[in-house]
Every structure is written in structure tokens, then in C-alpha cells.
Assembly symmetry: C2
Homo-oligomer: 249 residues x 2
């Protein structure tokens, strides 16, 4: 599985609870490779508690002594960063970084995404291992993003890139134009029958109703319900047989 | 600000800590309108603690008695849902829902995104207020997403849609082809001068180096450094003046 080749590297994480929360975010999004560089406290019960079932991610986490060791086999490394650096570095949006990491992982290579510790983020020496910086587009007025929240956003972006564009909209199959037009004919007949629509002066009534129902894109079941309602409406001078005939047009 | 017209509605939230974490996620992403439907405990110190500075979001949060009241002025409502519903409902990916909410908010309308409580999510009666379901593409093997994590992903998507596509890559201005070609000429001269490149049998050496440096897209400062290095290399039989001349070609 290519997602397993994308390692999440936490550099000097301070709170074991955050390590657990990152493990949970990773597992929710199908990632599994966690590397911890010089964690202050790990393993820790608080990490397991916050992982909420992602214990396997914690159990298989690697502990490294340095960033160099953590990313040694990787062909591509990006560093998350909340602040600008003095040396201009390519700055990528999460979707750009996630796309690059995913396509390289899908091609069979190991890649890494670095997160700094809670206190001071990544040092410049850590960033030197990366080909680019990733910045989550936080509101500049309130930019402080929790480590787990930042990992959640990036892991979500990686999964989104891996899954590709979503289908237009699922679970809803609009009925055919043919069915729709038969419904409109039925509706018009009933509206004339009950005296709401004057065939001699129709104005824009039917066009408005047509526009409304086209916008709603009814499915076959909904059309059946609507036709059933029309059939149940008593129309003076027209026996129900007439409506049956219309519904079979 | 159009983001203020996108209300985040928490329906029957159980843990005040999660309310605070959602407020923080909202403020990080520039959202400000929080509505709580029948919260178990609010206001609460734990909410303020987890908000980590987003106190203003909590202070201005509205408490509603029902979903109907919470979304009353809204022209578009989506409901987040982890599970499929018996009645087929349009299911949208986060980016699709966020895009629709944002464009409607930008047009001046109030819109809402519903989140269910921690225990059982949204009831079918809650979902009936929505035009569609939003599903975060979690790994089916580990789908349980924390309320705050789900809100973080959706608020991020809304901000991403609001900001539009990111610029290609910032903070790096590659130098011109003209500058690059002068560097290649300089490099070739030096490589011949030190005897590494045989002008009579050049093989593919220069083409490989050209490809490498084109891929690196050096900026002007980096080109200046590289030219400085070339100039500093002692070349037998060629006075430095020669190199100066090349660098001014």
C-alpha cells in the first residue's frame, strides 16, 4: 500500500498525548508510518489513550535520534512550518505538498513529512533536510494550530490526493427527461382539470413549475410519488381512467 | 466577511472540551459563527481551556433549542455523516460541500454545516433539514473521527475554497534562461580548463550537468554563488581575466 511509504516524522514532540492524537489522525486517513525524533516521553500511557484505538501505529512507531536518521531512505521530504524562514524556501500549500508526496510514494519511493515540536517548531537545521516548506493557510489573526490538528489536515490532504477527485454526487440517480416530460404533461392536465391553470391564458405557470422540478432532479421513486399524488386528485368531469391513460403515454 | 455567514452547528454536543476545540479550529480557519443545539454543558471552563484563545467564538456562540431554529435563516444546509442513510441522500466530499457553502456565502446568503454529537451523530430528523450529506473520506478500517478533528477538516476545506487555488510555488524566483546558459558556458570552460572535460570527446557530460541544474531551477543568488566558485577554481594556462570575460558575455 503506497500510503505506508509516506512517513509522518514528529521532531522533538513534547506531549505524549499529541503523539497519540497524531497516530489517530494518521490511522483515520490510512497512513501507518510514524517516526519520532527524540521524543520527550515515549512510550507513554497518555499516547495510547489519545490514540483511541490506533495503538498499532504507536507500537510500530520508530524512534530516531536525528532528523537525518529519520528521513535517511526518503527521496522527498517536506517540512511543515508556520513561519517564514530567512533563506527563501519553496513554500507549498497542503494540497501541493500532499500531491507531490503521494505521487512519489505511488511510484514506489519512501517520502517524509516533518512536523516540529509544540514549543518551537522545526529548527533551521531540521528544515535543511527538506525540499520545501508546507504551510497550512491559517487565518493570520489566529495562526496557532495544535500539532494534532496540523497533522489531521495534512493526513486528510494526503488521503484526498490518493483517492483522486470525488465522483460528482453519489446515491442519487435522477430520472430520465422522458419520465420528467410525462410528469409535466400529467401535472398540466391536472392543473387544468382543477381550474388552477387556464389553458387559454397559461402565462408562465408551467414554465416556472418545470424549472422548479428540473432543479430538484427527482429520481424515479420521487416521480412515482408525484404521479401518484396527481392521480389521487379528483378532477371534475374526468374519470380516473383518463389519468391512467396519461400515465401510460 | 463572507466566512462569517457560514455557521458551524453542533447538535447535542456532549463534551464541552470538544466545543472549545471546534471553536479553535474555526478561528484558525477564519470562521466565527458557532451555533449549539441543546448542548449538555455550556458555558463550561473546559470549553474555554480547549479553545486556547478562541474565547470570542465561544462568547458569541448562539444556543438554539432545535436544529430548525439553528438553521432558520439559512439557504443551504449540509449535514456531516459517517454512515450511510436508508433514504438515499446526495453524498458530497468535503471539497464539494465546502465549495457550495462558500460560493453561496460569498453571494451574501447564510449557510450551515451540521455536526452530530459524539455519541450517536445526527438523527434522521436532523438530516431532514439538510440538502445533502458530507462524508470525510476516512479509512473504512478505522473510521471513528473525533468531533474536533472532523470540524478541523471541514473548516480547512472551507478556507481552502475561500482562498482559491494556491500560487504555483512562492518565495523562489528562478533565474532567466539567459543567465543559466552563461553559467553553463562558464562551467564548460572551467571543466575543460581543469582537464575534467575533453572537448574532443565530450560524451554526454555537459548535457547531464545541464539537465541537473535546469531541474534545480537556481535563482539569481545561487547562480552568483556557482559562478563565484567557478571563478575561484585555478585553471592552468588561463588567467582569471579570461573568466571575467566569459562572465560578461
Amino acid at each position: 500500500m503506497s500510503l505506508a511509504r509516506i512517513r509522518i516524522v514528529l521532531v522533538r514532540p513534547q506531549h505524549p498525548g499529541n503523539i497519540g492524537a497524531v497516530a489517530r489522525a494518521m490511522k483515520n486517513m490510512g497512513l501507518s508510518s510514524l517516526v519520532l525524533v527524540a521524543p520527550r516521553e515515549f512510550p507513554a500511557p497518555e499516547a495510547v489513550a489519545r490514540a483511541a484505538g490506533a495503538d498499532d501505529i504507536l507500537a510500530s512507531a520508530q524512534v530516531a535520534e536525528s532528523v537525518a536518521q529519520a528521513v535517511a531512505p526518503c527521496t522527498r521530504v517536506f517540512a511543515t512550518s508556520a513561519r517564514a524562514r530567512k533563506i527563501p524556501w519553496p513554500v507549498l500549500a497542503p494540497e501541493q505538498a500532499a500531491g507531490a508526496l503521494w505521487s512519489e510514494a505511488a511510484a514506489g519511493h519512501e517520502v517524509a513529512l516533518l512536523f516540529g515540536g509544540e514549543r518551537s517548531g522545526l529548527a533551521n537545521e531540521d528544515v535543511d533536510f527538506a525540499q520545501g516548506l508546507v504551510q497550512i493557510p491559517v487565518d493570520p489573526a489566529f495562526p496557532s494550530l495544535n500539532l494534532a490538528a496540523a497533522a489531521q489536515v495534512l493526513c486528510y490532504e494526503i488521503r484526498r490526493q490518493a483517492l483522486g477527485p470525488p465522483p460528482a454526487v453519489t446515491d442519487h440517480v435522477p430520472t430520465s427527461q422522458d419520465e420528467l416530460n410525462r410528469f409535466f404533461a400529467h401535472l398540466e392536465t391536472v392543473l387544468i382539470g382543477i381550474g388552477f391553470l387556464n389553458a387559454a391564458h397559461p402565462r408562465k405557470l408551467m414554465r416556472r413549475l418545470v424549472r422548479l422540478f428540473r432543479r430538484a432532479t427527482p429520481d424515479q421513486n420521487e416521480i412515482n410519488i408525484l404521479r401518484g399524488i396527481l392521480t389521487a386528485i379528483p378532477v371534475a368531469g374526468q374519470p380516473p381512467a383518463n389519468l391512467d391513460k396519461i400515465s401510460q403515454e
